[in-house]
Amino acid sequence: MDDWARKVVIVTGASGGVGTALCRLLASRGCRLGLVGRSRVALEALAEELRQAGAACLACETDVGERAAWTETLTQFEHRLGPADMFIHTAGRLHLTDPLRPNIDDLAEMLRVHYLGFVYAVQVLLPGMLDRGRGHLVAVGSLGSWRGLPRAAAYSASKAALSTYVESLRPPLRQRGILLTTIHLGLVRTSMTDGLSVPRPWRMLAPDDAARRIIRAVERRQREAAFPCGQAWAMRLVHKLPPWAFDWCMTQADRYLFRTAAAPRPTP
């Protein structure tokens, strides 16, 4: 979108690190915002802050995995803000997987939030966008979905479902003027990655940085964007590995990354 002023943008996960940064950026460009998350306090605080800055916005706490409630929220937003020009799906959870005792409830939950949350929204917003012949759907995925990462097997799987779904719909929708963008995000310093440590060559992106890059990709009407650069190239390489080499690398990486976690910590 070249002209952001007065565009209606609905953002899920607005109370999270990346989502909040995105909303601030969009508000500063004059967008009308619909904010979605689960914690009412955080959402209200953000909405208040954005209104003070002069942006029109509505906030509603909704679980995007609950179809009825989520549909209702979207309908309300479109009714009160106007037809949605853009939808950005940032809502996400990270549950690590214990490969020896995979928790299927976690898998189901992440599939609901990451994948079905997007599907439900598309179902509500798409008919209007098709009629108007324009619209932009943005899915925030993860670099970790390019292969199944052992400690995050369920998370990777749910994000892979999301990006594959987007890829399927992208060509036919683009012909009809509706753009789809998948953001393959690397590590960002937010509450989600709190307590995770990254090995030396990598660094975590600041949420503001991530938001700026997401908006840039959207402005350029990119189909896909993957960043930060270093992590994206590393994952491109990993993506090309034959299965046996992938397994070997994952085993080595696991030893290196979780060596400290497994060893009992010395008490001072």
Binding site: R67, T97, P99, L100, R101, P102, I104, L107, A108, L111, Y115, L116, V119, Y120, V122, Q123, L126, L130, S145, R147, G148, L149, P150, R151, A152, A153, A154, S156, A157, S158, A160, A161, L162, S163, T164, Y165, V166, E167, S168, L169, R170, P171, P172, L173, R174, Q175, R176, R223, E224, P243, W244, F246, D247, W248, M250, T251, D254
Partner: protein, 261 residues
């Protein structure tokens, strides 16, 4: 690996690929646990196995029901012995159209293809870990490697399954449990009748598919993708930049289907 005397549990046993695989496993001396929700199909297969005097046990189960899956597998283990091989083959397909996203069907795809397989894995894994041996075979699809036309919901569900299995594979291998991801292309089964595209390449028979899977089980392969020509086509797609990929999909969808893309 020799298959004689092993216990194999197969979900979706009454389906096209499932039946062919069960017959092949029985010929190699496996004892078979059959799970499916298709009662008639399951009875036919059980009869065939009985007349071949292959040890087997059959349970009518909807794989979306977690406790039912656990109970069925536990009862099979009592009859046949501990499970050596699990083949999660139950699956459904569906069509996603831009004007008709079929959300309920998308949910159903996820429940059967991903969670159904996960429940079965959950049921056999503790025993396999305790014995430090076993093999988990997940039947996913080449359609899960990229987002295929008309198949957003199906591709997404199979992508999730493949990626989930891939994540479990390295750590489980160190515990003596082998994970095999099966990626079939088009196979001539009832599942394909629902498709709105004519397969760009001729489909193979269920027996051929079963031979591929059988070989992968014996070799403990990590990935088993077939037929070769479809794999090559996909490798080609994977080399394309995104824009060209989209263009190829658009042309391909128009050539192989009468449905509006």
């Amino acid at each position: 690996m020799s298959l004689a005397g092993r216990v194999a549990v197969v979900t979706g046993a009454a389906g096209g690929i499932g039946q062919a695989l069960c017959r092949a496993l029985a010929r190699h001396g496996c004892a078979l646990g059959l799970l499916d929700c298709n009662e008639a199909g399951l009875a036919t297969l059980a009869d065939t196995l009985a007349s071949a005097q292959a040890p087997h046990a059959a349970e009518i189960v909807d794989v979306r029901r977690r406790t039912d899956v656990q109970r069925a597998i536990a009862s099979m283990e009592r009859k046949l012995g501990p499970v050596d091989i699990l083949v999660a083959c139950a699956g459904v397909t569906g069509v996603t159209l831009v004007r008709q996203l079929a959300v309920e069907e998308t949910e159903h795809l996820l429940e059967v293809n991903v969670l159904g397989a996960a429940y079965a894995i959950e049921a056999v894994l503790p025993g396999m870990l305790a014995r430090r041996q076993g093999q988990i075979v997940g039947v996913s699809s080449l359609a899960g490697c990229r987002g295929m036309p008309f198949s957003a919901g199906y591709s997404a569900s199979k992508a999730a399954l493949s990626v989930f299995l891939e994540g479990l594979r390295p750590p489980l291998r160190r515990k003596g449990i082998y994970v095999t991801i099966v990626l079939p292309g088009h196979v001539r089964t009832p599942l394909m009748d629902a498709a709105v595209v004519k397969p760009p390449m001729p489909p193979i028979s269920p027996d051929e598919a079963a031979q591929h899977i059988l070989r992968a089980i014996r070799r403990r392969s990590r990935v088993c993708a077939f037929p070769r020509r479809t794999c090559l086509g996909l490798a080609y797609l994977n080399c394309l930049p995104t824009r060209l990929f989209d263009w190829t999909m658009t042309i391909g969808a128009r050539r192989t289907s009468d449905v509006e893309y």
